[in-house]
């Protein structure tokens, strides 16, 4: 039986990752395992080799640049993964059978536009409703189902969720943008039926997108986290 890396030495490998700018545990684990495997490989030939020396050789083979490269690539791929999931979720609403629901809501909104003369007020009401929805979500809904993890470990998955949540601040500009568009085009009431249908379509799509961003993605991230790192959840 050849020598293996002890738990104390494993902890040291985690520190090496942290010192090389890889602070997330979910990225660290495979790098730690890789370094440990490189060290154990050396011990097969030289069982008496000092851990620090074996570690030095392992890092040399691994390359310090690899740590940052792997971390940055992982962050990029995580964003891509959830963006893909989000778009898949949205597209589902334009495929059978959910298409019926989307069509009914779009048509309903289109008919509502026929009754309301001032298109601008209906659009602004929608954007203000989104603002209120975001506030309710941030302070009442999100705290109930957010991912709670132990304070001594940081996770890329959790950080991704936080960043996504913080990015919704951009939506606070939505009423202003909508108002500026109507103001710029000097339009208060849209008469063109195709344009009205287009606005209805956009509003429904944005609503589906926001639902996906606020409820579907956090749920998926939570599932992925619990599937692999449940012991770190609080």
């Amino acid at each position: 039986m050849s020598r293996t890396v002890t738990p104390e030495e494993t902890e040291e490998l985690f520190k090496v990752c942290k010192n090389n700018a890889v602070e997330y545990y979910d990225v660290q684990i495979e790098l730690v395992d890789h370094l440990a495997s490189l060290i154990e490989e050396q011990w097969k030939n030289e069982p008496e080799l000092d851990f620090q020396l074996a570690l030095k050789n392992a890092i040399k083979k691994f390359g310090t640049y690899s740590f940052t490269r792997i971390k940055l690539q992982k962050e990029k791929e995580l964003r891509r993964k959830y963006n893909r999931l989000l778009w898949k979720f949205v597209l589902e609403f334009y495929r059978w059978p959910k298409l019926i629901t989307t069509f009914v809501f779009t048509l309903g909104l289109f008919l509502l536009f026929q009754f309301v003369e001032q298109t601008v007020w209906l659009v602004l009401s929608y954007t203000i409703a989104i603002l209120l929805g975001i506030l309710i979500y941030q302070y009442l809904i999100y705290p109930k189902f957010r991912l709670k993890v132990v304070p001594w470990k940081s996770f890329l998955l959790v950080d991704y969720l936080k960043k996504t949540r913080n990015n919704v601040v951009i939506l606070l500009q939505l009423p202003n943008i909508a108002f500026q568009i109507f103001n710029f085009t000097n339009t208060e009431s849209v008469q063109n039926q195709w344009l009205l249908f287009g606005i209805s379509f956009l509003i429904v799509t944005l609503s589906v997108l926001l639902y996906g961003l606020f409820f579907f993605i956090p749920q998926k991230v939570k599932e992925h986290f619990m599937g692999n790192y449940a012991e770190f959840a609080k």
Binding site: I29, E30, D33, H34, A36, S66, K74, R84
Partner: protein, 110 residues
């Protein structure tokens, strides 16, 4: 090193093929297996392997499971159903590419 550049574009196919044959593998095991199969001709660097694994995972071609081995967590990768189908397609593509390269490099003179 020059030799390895030729394999760069095929790293995903190599990883998928290995996982298709072995079932599940961890990062270090993949690098060692490639070295073993190619008798050391092809060395996959860590800086190239892990980004490829993460990319394939993000695409939904690979899934992961974590197990404790030798007092440390080890991340195993395995093919998803989508990954199995993609591997078949990529292998067909690769074989066609190799055949075409062979024709190009060894043209039959008439």
């Amino acid at each position: 090193m020059q030799k390895n550049n030729l394999y760069k574009g095929s790293l995903s196919t190599i990883v998928l093929k290995l996982l298709n044959d072995k079932g599940r593998m961890y990062g270090y095991q993949i690098t060692r297996e490639v070295e073993k199969i190619t008798s050391g001709d092809l060395v996959i660097t860590e800086g190239a392997l892990y980004p490829t694994l993460h990319k394939l995972e993000a695409k939904g071609l690979l899934s992961v499971e974590i197990q404790k081995v030798n007092n440390r967590p080890r991340k195993y990768y395995f093919l998803t159903e989508k990954g199995k189908k993609e591997t078949v397609n990529l292998l067909i593509e690769m074989k066609t590419f190799i055949q075409n390269m062979d024709i190009l490099l060894n043209p039959k003179l008439t």
